[in-house]
């Protein structure tokens, strides 16, 4: 009896810690390396998704986050991927900024290649690096790129295709 209680306690603790670990994993921004973007896209094959490039030093990006939060609340099943163009060493600040803006449950990444220009080029060879940069992908992954903060009406129009 004691043994089984002990087992239950251990199992409960294990579940408790695994939940914490999983939650942390989901929240901590991941390192965006060469090839990561394609992997992110491939994981959502057959589904529409939105990829948002932003930075902790970009005021327009921070303002965009209020709209992103609204869209996320209204369409929790729409994958929105947040990719910070800051250096990976800024990951704690990136996470804090996402938390402050109610977006910490979104899939989050940070640039982690010293040659960020090549990383950007791999994602879009026409992109000069201006942010926010948003990509709307439909179910067939036809992609539309937009630079600059956009309104909620623009979001809805772009999501409608």
């Amino acid at each position: 009896m004691t043994m089984s209680r002990f087992k239950v306690l251990i199992s409960a603790l294990l579940i408790f810690f695994s939940v914490i670990v999983t939650a942390n994993e989901a929240n901590t921004p991941k390192a965006l390396k060469f090839g990561s973007y394609q992997t992110i896209i491939d994981q959502q094959a057959g589904h529409p998704l939105v990829v948002v490039f932003w930075s902790i030093t970009c005021a327009s990006c921070l303002k965009e986050m209020a709209t992103i939060k609204e869209i996320h609340q209204e369409r929790p099943n729409l994958p929105i991927v947040m990719i910070s163009t800051d250096d990976i060493s800024e990951a704690p600040l990136v996470l804090a900024t996402l938390k402050d803006n109610g977006l910490s449950d979104l899939d989050s990444w940070v640039f982690a290649e010293s040659n960020s220009q090549r990383l950007r080029y791999e994602i879009d060879s026409k992109w000069y690096g201006e942010i926010p940069r948003l990509y709307f992908l439909d179910a067939d992954h036809n992609r539309r790129g937009i630079s600059g903060k956009i309104s909620k009406a623009d979001w809805l129009e772009l999501l409608a295709g």
Binding site: T57, A59, S60, C61, N115, R118, Y128
Partner: protein
Amino acid sequence: MLKYFQKPMPSQFTWLFILAPLLLTACQSTGKNASLNPYHEHGKTALKSIIATDFAPDGTLWRLFPTEKNIFVDYSTDLGHSFSQPFKVNPKKQKINIWAENPPIIKVSRNGRIHVLYYADEDQQATTYFSYSDDQGRSFSTPILVSDEATTAMHYMDQMLVDSTGKVYFFWHDTRHGRHDPKLGSGVVSLYYTTFDSLNGRLENQKITGGICSCCRTATALAPNDKPVILARMVLEKGIRDHALIRLLDNNQWSKPIQAITDDWRVDACPEHGPAISIDDQGRSHLVWFTLGEQRQGIFYAHTDDYGHHVSHPPLPLGDPSQLPGHPDVLAIGDRVYLTWQQFDGQQTDIMIQHSTDRGHTWSQRKNVLSVSGRSAHPKLLRKNKKAFLMWSTEAKGLQLINITHN
């Protein structure tokens, strides 16, 4: 480091073996032996490969290079082939903050004073510190904050100019007004400035204008009357982010911003792509900038003889549009005008140059002079009396300096 112990005398060998770790430690901590200093290899260890350079009137090349916790300064009398021992600027370790659009600055005045401006994270992210040396770098003044609201207002994109009398001007983007015009969208800050000279130890901050696009470096240059001229990306009506000129008038008042360039770039974004300006001795301002406006996209050159009221038209497009041309710089020396910018083909970054011998009317073919794959800083043009130099810092090759003077 091994070089130092390359050819020990046999009788000394054993002693050196024992003393080596001690000697190394001692030399590293004092930085007295250049060959032992890890920061000596042409800036290869500079934080994010970003350095700053300037020529002194005697032709000495001064270099600032940041590490994670310190700012170092050294100099070269052989055009960057070898450098002096490095001198530390900040006595107390700081978290140095740096990015390519927001680099530190070094300027040497006519009387040889070395001025340094750098960013460090303190109460606010990325506030700037100023320090100077009057003894060829051997000692630096205690770094002081440039902003008098450094703990409550963000500021960045600082510029520093030193006029012919040694008066130092600082310009920066400041968020202290916080509430901007909501009609203009976000990312709008004010342009501030202050001055420093031997009589004025206190850096009294003054506003020049609001409506500045927060995340594009502002460019500054001295006009022939020794007063500053500013080229900045402003946020104009309907959120258009185009460039304007502002100058300090003879009555020491700032002119109103004059929109010099009309690209019609309507965007609420951080382009992170500031302009550059150089003014020749007859007062012609040579301008280069980046835009993705309705009118044109890419990087461009134009000039103006009346500080933005009339500007040469159409602007000269620079670079290959398929290779993301960006981050241009310009330098005018007499009738000569030199341009540089970077391009990227997906694998390597190329540095291009182009020049004019008639004050910007006609131009040479563009030429690729340097290339690298991997991280690099933005290319910069430097003046050494009548000569023009291109300076580029990369992770792979460190500091590269080439004479691009066209006679």
